[in-house]
Amino acid sequence: MFINSLNKERKQVQHMAEKHEERKSVRDMKIGERGVICCLQDPEMGLKLLEMGCIPGTEIKMNSRAPLGDPITIIVNNYTLSLRLDEAETILLKQ
């Protein structure tokens, strides 16, 4: 289902984005909180995140925040991944 969001067709992506506006993303997680990845919003960045193991259905845990709040680290597939908040925002969580 998230595959659709990886299409080049802008409209569809925007549509998806609107639909998910209310949904919780990794950006909103508290330190120590766990969640399961639902989908990735940004097609291009999604590819990068997939390669790093952020596959929909994978459990992740919010690990830490930089002193200024951005970037953050999460634990995915048993390793620590660092990313910026605007990157974290594109990872949506299952409710």
């Binding site: 299409n7 596959i55 200024l68 597939n77 048993n78 620590t80 991944l81 660092s82």
Partner: protein, 717 residues
């Protein structure tokens, strides 16, 4: 070692006949111990070259596998997959997809971090699907075991269908076994890890036949990446574009599908081969350490303490070996001059050897800075620096890692520019390199010192605030602000070649590998001495010729004139010598240039004498003081106080003191902004692999210097 056998001859032509020298490519995720393994295999037998068009160095090395077989090993940039996300990673696809490439490997060694096998295997399965002969170097088995990850190597080997060598590249464990496997005939993996969807077959078959490829996955890679493959011709690109259009090929979606399918397959494979009896992650040492090292208060305090230490080291500690080198060069020169004479000897001593000295004198600073940087990288602390600084630095178009080059720039821009190598993103790195020379380096100190002594009164405010000290601090501050705002300007001007990501593995803390630290130092020093050194020596020689020769019999006339003056004024022998040197410099080519640029620099308050100093200090700022001493007949041995007194006595055409505060500040500001350093220009060329960047820097900084000095002179006078 059991190797999956397969009778087919498809890509096996490459492996069938073992030549005396085999080509081996080393590839793997960042932080998977690739560099350690490369160092273990090749030792100091390494060569650093260029990949065309990218800034990443091409590191090759040789390893004697058996007395008869030698391996040429190429170290490829770290990557997470065969779909490059940065310009530097494209080197990999250019090399692996082009069988005619000079470096096309006979064998690929994939390094994988055993404690993080799942993600590391993604790249492995892609390479295996290309049907290249592959060996998996299962690295950091010890770390994995500590973390409760147990790997059944035999089973993994059977499932992957390639030799798997458990190793610890840091300690050299497993290297011997790997070398044995490297000498064997290896076959490609038969069964692909990723089954290409059937609906793509027509497209892939036509790509295969056009480019006579034997492998489906390679054809798929062509479809995905044809635009960035450098070896494809214009008409091939057009043809591929049409084909993909016709087949309605959606690259992004297909790639996403592929990555998910690969992860699914890897999960299946690892189900039996890897058992994780993990301790809770939070308890891990790295996480506990991070609570202090990235703490909102202590984190920055510790970081600034480390920066201060680095600054101290390149500023103070390096001065001892630097003085030794300076002294050694001077002693060598006087030894030669005492025993030989003539114009060629002068060229050798004052041109070539002095130029060489100017190169060698930077070696201690470079070595010390890179010892620190290598340790910070090796331990994983550099990732924390980036993590803590990213938000602030990003506002100025810089990167968390720009902090180290900027701070090092206060000591010397040469090692600082080299240290920007750790910044992966092209745009961030170029901006960092561009603005670093604006930081006031140690070579500006002699210039500042003389000029401040000349025009700023030695007054104290509130009993401890020294006015001269305040001015010096102000100059450093202006340099820093100039760097930051130039970065901001470039952030707007420069187009990003690639998206800037922060998505990367946050490495765990490790003990530094001293061998890697040592090799880094040797590599950086060599790169500087051999590549930047050539330019610096050449420019030094040119400047020496300009300052030591004049047209016609100018020099003899100058000497005669000085002697006549000496007679009428009753000068001592030393004063006469100084007068001759002054008049000769005045009538040299440098003097002529100095006079001819006088109209240009007059609005800044400078005369032709300063013009000569600007020219001779083009290679190195500190030369300014020496030239000024010569031109005002002060002599070489004088100290700041004497220079100051002589310069203060200097009168302009109206009989007023020449060095007014306006002229002094104008000169300080000029030296603050101007790119008066051939070494930096040479190193920027080396690091950016283009003359465009140093040229832009020269124009920008000189322009800025001119405008700022003009404003200052007009304001103060």
């Amino acid at each position: 070692m059991t190797v999956a056998t397969q009778p087919e001859i498809k890509p096996a032509e490459r492996t069938s006949a073992r030549p005396e020298e085999v080509k081996i490519a080393l590839i793997g995720n960042p932080n998977s111990g690739k560099t350690s393994l490369f160092n273990q295999l090749t030792g100091l037998n390494q060569k650093v070259g260029n990949f065309p068009g990218v800034t990443v160095d091409k590191k090759t090395g040789y390893s004697q596998l058996t007395p008869a077989i030698r391996a040429e090993i190429i170290d490829l940039p770290g990557t997470y997959s065969l779909y490059p996300k940065s310009l530097d990673e494209r080197v990999i696809t250019d090399l692996l997809y082009d069988p005619t490439s000079k470096h096309f490997p006979d064998l690929v060694i994939v390094t994988a971090d055993a404690s993080n096998l799942k993600r590391n295997l993604l790249l492995f399965t892609q390479l295996a699907d290309l049907q290249l002969p592959v060996v998996l170097a299962l690295n950091m088995v010890d770390v994995a075991e500590q973390e409760g990850v147990k790997i059944d190597v035999e089973l993994l080997q059977r499932e992957l269908g390639v030799p798997v060598i458990p190793m610890n590249a840091r300690k050299g464990v497993g290297v011997a076994a790997l070398k044995i496997v490297m000498t064997q005939q290896l076959n490609a993996v038969e069964r692909p890890f990723f089954t290409i969807p059937a609906d793509l077959q027509p497209l892939l078959q036509s790509i295969k036949s056009r480019f006579s490829l034997s492998n489906d996955y390679l054809a798929l890679q062509f479809a995905h990446q044809y635009k960035s493959l450098k070896f494809l011709k214009e008409e091939d690109l057009a043809w591929l574009g049409e084909q993909l259009e016709a087949a309605d090929f959606k690259s992004n979606a297909r790639q996403a599908d592929e990555t998910i399918a690969r992860y699914t397959r890897i999960n299946e494979l690892l189900l039996d081969a890897v058992r994780v009896e993990k301790a809770e992650k939070d308890e891990k040492f790295s996480n506990r350490l991070d609570q202090i090292l990235t703490h909102r208060v202590f984190g920055y305090l510790i970081f600034f303490a480390i920066l201060f230490l680095i600054f101290q080291a390149i500023f103070a500690w390096a001065s001892y070996p630097m003085d030794l080198i300076d002294g050694g060069i001077a002693a060598l020169n006087s030894l030669i001059q005492e025993n030989f004479s003539g114009p060629l000897v002068n060229l050798l001593t004052e041109g070539v050897i002095a130029g060489l000295g100017g190169v060698l004198v930077f070696v201690p600073q470079i070595a010390i800075l890179f010892a620190f940087i290598a340790i910070l990288e090796e331990t994983g602390y550099m990732a924390r620096v980036t993590f803590m600084m990213d938000k602030i630095m990003r506002k100025f178009g810089l990167n968390g890692k720009s902090v180290v080059p900027l701070i090092s720039g206060v000591a010397c821009a040469v090692p600082a520019v080299m240290s920007a190598r750790t910044i992966e993103n092209w745009k961030d790195r170029m901006i960092t390199i561009f603005v670093t020379p604006l930081m006031s380096c140690s070579a500006r100190i002699p210039v500042y010192t003389v000029l401040i002594a000349l025009v700023v009164p030695d007054k104290y405010y509130l009993g401890f605030l020294n006015l001269q000290g305040l001015v010096l601090m102000g100059l450093y501050l202006i340099g820093f602000l100039a760097a930051i705002f130039s970065a901001l300007l470039l952030k707007v001007i420069l187009k990003a070649r690639e998206r800037s990501y922060f998505i990367m593995e946050f490495p765990t803390y490790k003990m530094p590998r001293w061998k890697n630290v040592g090799i880094t130092i040797v590599e950086k020093v060599k790169a500087f001495v051999f590549e930047a050194g050539k330019v610096i020596v050449a420019i030094s020689v040119i400047l020496w010729v300009l300052a030591s020769y004049g047209p016609g019999d100018n020099f003899e006339q100058a000497e005669q004139r000085a002697l006549r003056e000496a007679k009428t004024e009753g000068l001592t022998e030393v004063q006469t010598e100084n007068r001759i040197a002054s008049h000769q410099l005045e009538s040299s080519y440098a003097g002529i240039v100095g006079r001819s640029i006088e109209p240009v620099i007059r609005p800044l308050g400078y005369d032709w004498k300063i013009g000569i100093a600007l020219l001779t200090s083009f290679a190195a700022r500190e030369v300014f003081v020496g030239t000024i001493s010569t031109i005002y007949s002060i002599g070489e041995e004088e100290n700041v106080t004497t220079i100051k007194e002589k310069l203060m006595a200097e009168k302009d055409a109206n009989g007023d003191p020449f060095f007014t505060p306006a002229r002094g500040f104008s000169l300080m500001i000029f030296y603050l902004f101007a790119m008066q350093c051939a070494s930096t220009l040479a190193i920027v060329r080396r690091e950016t692999k283009s003359w465009m960047w140093p040229a832009a820097q020269l124009v920008y900084m000189s322009g800025l210097a001119y405008v700022m000095a003009f404003i200052v002179f007009q304001l103060f006078s």
